[in-house]
Subunit: 694 residues, 2 copies
Amino acid sequence: MTKKHTIILQPSGRRGQVEEGVSVRTAARELGVEIESICAENATCGKCLVLIEEGRFEKYNIDSKREHLSPVSTEEANYFKRRPKLLKDKGWEVGQVRLSCQAKIRGDVLINVPEESRGNKQIVRKTARERKIEVKPAIRKYLVSMSPPTLERPIADWERLAKGLETSMALVRGTEEKLPRWHELKIDYQCLRTLSKTLREAKWQVTVSVWNDREVIQVQPGYVEDSYGAAVDIGSTTVALYLCNLRTGELLAAESEMNPQIVYGEDVMSRIQYTIEHPDGLEKLHKAIIATLNKLLKQAVKTANEKIHETAGFDTVEKNARPTQPAEITVDDILEMVLVGNSTMHHLVLNLPPKDLGLAPFVPAIHESLDVKARELGIHINPSGNVHVLPTIASFVGADTSAMILAEEPHKQDENWLLIDVGTNAELVLGNRRRLVCTSTPTGPALEGAHVEYGMRAAPGAIERVHIDERTLEPKYKIVGEEEWNTGKAKGICGSAIIDAVAELFRAEIVDSRGRFKKGLSTKRVREGESGWEYVIAWAEETSIGRDIPITQQDVRQIQLAKAALFTAARTLLKRMNLESPDKIILAGGFGSYIDKEKAMLIGLIPDCPLENVYAVGNAAGDGARIALLNIEKRNEIDNVTRKVERFELPTDPEFQNQFMLATSFPHMSEPFPHIAHLIPHRKADPMAKNFMK
Amino acid sequence: MTKKHTIILQPSGRRGQVEEGVSVRTAARELGVEIESICAENATCGKCLVLIEEGRFEKYNIDSKREHLSPVSTEEANYFKRRPKLLKDKGWEVGQVRLSCQAKIRGDVLINVPEESRGNKQIVRKTARERKIEVKPAIRKYLVSMSPPTLERPIADWERLAKGLETSMALVRGTEEKLPRWHELKIDYQCLRTLSKTLREAKWQVTVSVWNDREVIQVQPGYVEDSYGAAVDIGSTTVALYLCNLRTGELLAAESEMNPQIVYGEDVMSRIQYTIEHPDGLEKLHKAIIATLNKLLKQAVKTANEKIHETAGFDTVEKNARPTQPAEITVDDILEMVLVGNSTMHHLVLNLPPKDLGLAPFVPAIHESLDVKARELGIHINPSGNVHVLPTIASFVGADTSAMILAEEPHKQDENWLLIDVGTNAELVLGNRRRLVCTSTPTGPALEGAHVEYGMRAAPGAIERVHIDERTLEPKYKIVGEEEWNTGKAKGICGSAIIDAVAELFRAEIVDSRGRFKKGLSTKRVREGESGWEYVIAWAEETSIGRDIPITQQDVRQIQLAKAALFTAARTLLKRMNLESPDKIILAGGFGSYIDKEKAMLIGLIPDCPLENVYAVGNAAGDGARIALLNIEKRNEIDNVTRKVERFELPTDPEFQNQFMLATSFPHMSEPFPHIAHLIPHRKADPMAKNFMK
């Protein structure tokens, strides 16, 4: 038997075992990652190039690239010799970059497939909602015209500017606003360094960008109207960046990338562990995320500039005759960034040791929001720009939850709202204007389609919807990227389809309320597979992988555990507030947007509530970050709210354990679910269901 | 005739032409710099090693070390082969370090003679006065004891500390003081990074250093009593650093070094020019001074620790049984630095382009004081520490003048005080509590002993006092380092002796009131030398250089120009204030301390004033820096004062030119000098003196 090696492909995160000696391109295809090629693997087109990265995954330590792949072949070397510019532009070295059709697997290896080489472009589903946010940014711009210094009045450049700025601020903002006097204004030290040169080049007419009504952070020649800001949601898996115009609030670009820290551990606990076990672990994780932020910033600026070129015609150019307005945005025009993320992401991006987030009694280094100069973090916006980091609430209730609260505003409601953000960990906030309580619970990766036998992310080829006919027990499914049901070639199952499938299996009485497959049903789809009982959703010939795609007993069990965790957490908060059920349920995150809320309630993933009061709001954390970016008053608001949120850890007593076990059944045996009662199969024979529907 | 090359020796700054082929050691001796040697130039003792530095001086560009010296000889190479540790410890490379007895001059070269190789250790005369300063530092330390976090109260580390700190601050300072609430306190970002670790290692009992009652900048385990600060006066020639205990105000070390920027230009104008002509000029000058500050900090810490060891006996150790008090100071314990210097030094240390300081209309980048994090400047105190830079008043009236005002407090007087700080440039401040006016004037290097035929700095061998018998016309002189008059071997003349000599030549009627040497006097000491008429102070056999040391006509002329500049500047300010003369004259700087004030008045260097009201206060700028370091309220005070000081440029009209020419005479022809009248020779024959003494 041939030797096998573990391969990880980035940014998809796909991993698996492949045989020694196959090409990287073939190996990638086996793992479901298509790599371009138009020269039939002749080492001529160069479409298939990949980057060989070092890193650590699970037990493997990949120390050297060379040991794990065949050496660079003559053909391959010749290809790169003909492309010196490509190597120079990208800063690549041969050996680090390989032609995936030529390089053969000889050991465990971590491979990065760059965007341009990818066969099926990945869809990352976090997109910002267009949302009305009152625009009151921290950055304001003022045109300041000064008389040049003379021998009679040789006042210094900064004082001259500050006096002019005082006048401009009063003119623009009106005298009724409380504004600083000129000698109370400050200038950022790095900004001061180029002031004298700029003032003279600009002939004493400049546009001054003031942060928070008190600090000058940019001085540009002439009249400049716009400045820009970036809101970033750092998820454990995906990092999403929104580039906004700080004057108009307009969203100019929404970019996302995989979180590169995934190489060091899939979930937050394993990343924390990595920083504990490796002396340079924190530094590595920190640098990785900063590099990704800088990459996203570049991409967003590129996207925004493409948009500017598209909309710019002769008309616009002539009408908009402002000679000093820069035609293109640069990263230097980005003057502020707002960051949100769970507490671990928060610590890692700030280079704070996350150790105590993962050890009892589980405390963050800091709750309150932070303002740090971009240059201190190595973030490539304007070096004088500010990075605002939203407050954390607890070790497992992070700045992303603060942002979600800010976006959804439960603290302004009379009704009781339940906010749920589901990832591998779920954060829950419940309450109203008088009181907010929160908690968190691990839900595992199953709800995101990971660690499920044929689970995959929401990418082309992924089954995203499942319906099972309760008479024939035959399924219908819909694939990402296809318009019609039952068309296209399936590659795997994503998170929303797993919820669908489990709910449908229960509704069609293929599994019982305790999640067990029934035997002896009149369908070939239920069968005993390699790892136990399973239900086949797609037969091999309907797939692009040439294998049956089933939902297994193990998959159903994982969903049961996840939903029980979520349900008991919600129940705990409701008890704290002396409530039977929430008035409204808000599902945040990509997960909430793509699940069928009726089916989620059918399996008891969320408490009972009128279906019309269950909302999926998409990336609420990202929205909250944008709100904080565009409106400085909101930063104060969320600082005050988070200081008052009550944190609860889930109990660990036997009574709670019992509750948890009951909650694994469908929907939840001890709870009434009037709003989905019509969907629940009547199985009076099940003794565990005796309390049900009473 | 043999070829000659220009040699500059650092840190003494001595320069001169030497013949090709002589050894560096011989060349240095010819220029008055002794280099150690005990092996009779056999390349065995290694006492004579020197560092070959690159740099630029005047018209010379020294690009490569190798072209300008003979290659490393076998003997020399063998010496260094036997000393690998020396090279490693110092980070030296052979070729950069040479044995000065072996290396032969082949071109222009800049040589650094390290302290250990110097034959006569240099005395830098700036020393801090012991002065009463009310100690109200920006840094305060508080012991904070916290209860550790629990599952029930998992509040974050910073919030836990901030709440404890609020309590401690109130206890220490009393509730009547206006102190921030816990959520108004901030923590420096870099300090936050190590907070969690420190709190746990310290078992939740720490000493917290708070800057300006609002920002935590250091957290140390256990109880720590003291923190430290450094006050620095950056002169164009000398940099002086004072290390102080911020709790007691005690001066722990006073260190000084030559300003390394001297390599790029002797005076401020040539350094400004250097930054204009070289794209990397500013960066070079900035890095040079920062490196010197870091060197001085290290030296000061070493000195302070030596002092600690000296004073620590068994007694002290037992009485002072505080286990967590660090036995030794490190640079990390220095939590604040205050910087002063002229406007050019101010700009260069802050990395601000000084171009416009040197071009009409002569404006600084900034007047107001600045607070910059030490890490932003690369200054190696605690990276979270603050660097406070005092305000500048004008392009040629810098932060050193602000510091002088702060030290001498003319703004608190009813009388009119005239403050004069003399260097190659003189700054003058005149006024009282109601009004202060200031100006500056170039005085040239003559008053500091430079550019004088046999001028030298106040170092061993320098003549520092001169007296001429008015009957015999014979001189007496005193040499630095000698107790008695007319003992020791003279090497040159330092600034104070030049003033003495010129005044004595005038008093003894060897030169007339217009500064011309009289011919036909009955002394061999007055003679026509190589460069014109001169008066010999020391004959060759009385010197260590084997040559006569004279005062030349040219030297007298230079003093006349310098004193005229100073006098007209003072006169201009007096007129602005409608005053005849000041009530008090305060001479700041090393110069003021070593000149004979009676003789200075005799030649008209300073306006007439009762001699008992003329004070030499030493390094007032350094004192001001220390005051600002030890008392934060003083920073506000000087900010307010400098905003109100009126700046005057000296006029350039013909009337002023005429005034200036008159002022070159001794003392000043149009002015009454009643307080030194008894010293002035009665020369009614001189027609220019006709208005005099009326």
